[in-house]
Subunit: 191 residues, 2 copies
Amino acid sequence: MARPRSFDPDDVLEIARQVFWQKGFQATSLDEITAASGIAKPSLYAAFGDKHALFLRVLDRYHDGILGWAERTLAQPGPAREAIRQWLTGFIPYCSGEKGQRGCLSINSATDGSLDQAALRKSIERYNRRLEELLRTRLRADRAQFKKGFDPDITAHTVMVVHAGLMALAHQTPDSKQVKAVIEQVMGLLA
Amino acid sequence: MARPRSFDPDDVLEIARQVFWQKGFQATSLDEITAASGIAKPSLYAAFGDKHALFLRVLDRYHDGILGWAERTLAQPGPAREAIRQWLTGFIPYCSGEKGQRGCLSINSATDGSLDQAALRKSIERYNRRLEELLRTRLRADRAQFKKGFDPDITAHTVMVVHAGLMALAHQTPDSKQVKAVIEQVMGLLA
DNA sequence: TTGATTCTGTACCTATAAGTACAGAATAAA
DNA sequence: TTTATTCTGTACTTATAGGTACAGAATCAA
């Protein structure tokens, strides 16, 4: 009953993600997104709203992707240690720039002082809360595998800290051998 | 032989640091700095150069301040464990917002994709290299205090990762009790 | 006091980027 | 085929922010 949309919103979000990831929210202009996607501004505004709303969509999509993968990885059978090692190791591509970007879009956004938008903060907090929850749940379930005095809650948070640190430092040293060594050493806390 | 400067450049850098720290480089306008400092733009440009140069001065100053403190803290007598615990603990005010800002200006800048300026990247890399060097040197010197197989180089890097992670997560959860618990758990790697 | 010199403040220029008005194109229903 | 409806692209408006021209003020040396 009307002219149909000429693009797949998901494709545009994917392209917008790449641009935002590479340059950050502030430094990315809508013109760059229109250039990269081929979609004119009025179409973007009609489909997603303003720049903040578009970024929020991109970020939520990013979060969902990682959460899905984290859920699968941390649900695998076998020792909890192995699951968590794989989880941490899975982020190495984000560190080394193999994905074309450096670091984590979420962490990059969290440390961006300009993003005081409540909705964005909320999305990031929710994401971190969920990731930590996945880690905590798994560590609690397999508590018997660790020695007496092991604290699954604190350990889950520590793993989150290490993860954030790797992502933050990813912007400088893409030495994946060093990253692996750190992960191995941190695994020493899961005993 | 000419009109003297009416302000102390160091004071201005201090004020600029606060503004940049709070809002980030991109989101901070020079007008905000002139408003906060009372110094008009032409004076800023004459004294520091353009916005990037000003930010670089601010960042270098910030780095020097922390490096000086780190040097003193890590040079203290006693067990290396204690020195490093104090070093990590010293960053808690940066985590909890007690300083009015959240997180670390350097990390915030490192994760800001818009800062592709080579000079800035260099300053940040140098800073991280020096911090890690201080940790490494101390751990190597006190190697005898740890058990066989202890690797001071990897441990130094791991401590850097934890530090970066705490600073990155500082933007969300200002629970200093949790931060302390993480530090205590990580100290378990220094044995 | 005078003059050379450098700083300060106002007011401006210019570029960029977010957001939109509007005319025309594409579709589905009638 | 006609028409209602929604999308698309061009071109525009507007605000903001980086940077500067210029006139006048403040200092020190002579």
